[in-house]
């Protein structure tokens, strides 16, 4: 099946019921997307499907046929949010960070604190208490 992955077309031979997360990590080698729970609770596996944040552990490949998928790798090394997460120490252990950033990119520039808190309610972080993450997202 064909998808657009981080801007480039990609043909994949995979089971239609395969989880998008596994295909990204195992077939495409994009290990920036993490698995934290397999139940759509932690948000570590967040990627964008046609611009919308989803938990890739709950998405069967058949449902992204023809779709455009963006992962953390698709943002490149100098994305302003990545920079802000560095500057504000928004990442501690870093395992939730890619998912956090993928949710945060859907918010556009300079979102309000209440908007950030609502939007990130599906991304769990156990290290930071979230405050440094807010500082990072409000920065760029």
């Amino acid at each position: 099946m064909r998808i657009t992955l981080n801007g480039a077309p990609r043909d994949l031979a995979c089971h239609p019921a395969a989880r998008l997360l596994d295909v990204l990590r195992q077939e495409c080698g994009l290990t920036g997307t993490k698995e934290g729970c397999g139940e759509g609770e932690c948000g570590a596996c967040t990627v964008l499907v046609d611009g919308a944040a989803v938990c890739s552990c709950l998405v069967p490949m058949a449902q992204v046929r023809g779709a455009s998928i963006t992962t953390i790798e698709g943002l490149g090394d100098d994305h302003p949010l990545a920079r802000a997460f560095m500057d504000e120490v928004g990442a501690q252990c870093g395992i939730c960070t890619p998912g956090m950033i993928m949710t945060a990119v859907t918010l556009g520039p300079r979102p309000s604190l209440p908007r950030i808190r609502t939007a990130l309610a599906g991304n769990l972080c156990r290290c930071t208490g979230y405050e440094a993450i807010y500082r990072a997202i409000r920065k760029p």
Binding site: H15, A17, G38, G40, L58, V59, A62, T106, T118, A121
Partner: protein, 275 residues
């Protein structure tokens, strides 16, 4: 432990008619919408089903539209679509509110109204809204389309009138007269399964529905009648407590659910008091 993907089969109809034929002709198939529930079961290895009919690409089932006076919501409308829909905001704001409290943004982007109904959990967040709104469920099979009142849709714990060969295609809601009220009491502030969830309408005849306090979502018909007949809230609350059968489970206790249900009823009544 996760179910092996290779043991699964995913049928991929291109049209609604094809999907309905699959449901009629294929053995043991289950419709799959946004996968936010079924894939959790897959990841935990608790799924009994191995064959699915993937509905996600059936775009016509996403439509939210007015048909005359009736708000028609396609079964594949996501929670995000419900939150964003002007018609839903205007006609059924309590549904948008319920949708906002389902999971995080990622789940709202994939989970569907039809999925919430078919999943048939007594804790489903949108279900009390549909019950209180006197919604109608549109069911379609390869041979017929039928409409059943949401209030009578569930026949027992995780059981409904939907036959295995039928799909829910839409939910229809007529005009709702009166103030709408919704409150979800979850296990935490976000991303939580409800411990008690209530939707209610303060019209000439009040309508009150509760989730997580009985094997299915329920309407408190005797409480409604009492309040409609001018009973005091204390009497109504006593009746309400007799209409629910809450249980102890992993998330809460029967005693808590009973008291909170009663308190929410009082809160609804005072919040929507005229004047």
């Amino acid at each position: 432990m996760r179910t092996a993907i290779s043991s699964l089969e995913l049928l991929e109809p291109r049209t609604l008619a094809e999907a309905l034929r699959m449901l009629r002709d294929e053995e043991g198939v289950v419709p799959l919408a946004g996968a936010t529930d079924l894939y959790v079961g897959l990841n935990f290895g608790t799924l009994e089903t191995r064959r699915f009919v993937n509905l996600w690409s059936l775009a016509p089932l996403r439509r939210i539209a007015m048909r005359g006076d009736t708000l028609s919501i396609g079964a594949l409308a996501t929670y995000t679509a419900l939150i964003r829909s002007r018609q839903v905001q205007r006609r059924l704001p309590m549904l948008a509110q319920a949708a906002r409290e389902v999971g995080g943004m990622q789940i709202q982007n994939r989970g569907t109204l039809g999925g919430n109904i078919v999943n048939a959990s007594p804790a489903g967040d949108t279900l009390p809204v549909l019950a209180a709104a006197d919604a109608t469920v549109v069911l379609r099979s390869a041979s017929e389309e039928r409409r059943v009142p949401f209030a009578g849709f569930y026949t027992g714990y995780r059981e409904s009138l939907r036959r295995p060969d039928e799909l829910i295609t839409a939910v229809e809601v007529g005009p709702v007269e009166g103030a709408q009220w919704f409150r979800k009491v979850g296990t935490r502030a976000a991303q939580a399964i409800s411990k008690v969830v209530m939707a209610a309408v303060r019209g000439a005849a009040p309508r009150i529905a509760l989730g997580s306090v009985a094997p299915t979502v329920i309407r408190l018909s005797r409480t409604e009648r009492a309040l409609g007949d001018g009973a005091g809230i204390d009497d109504a609350a006593a009746i309400a407590e007799s209409e629910i059968q809450p249980l102890d489970d992993l998330r809460s206790t029967a005693g808590y659910r009973r008291r909170v249900a009663s308190n929410l009823l009082r809160r609804f009544w005072s919040d929507t008091a005229p004047g």
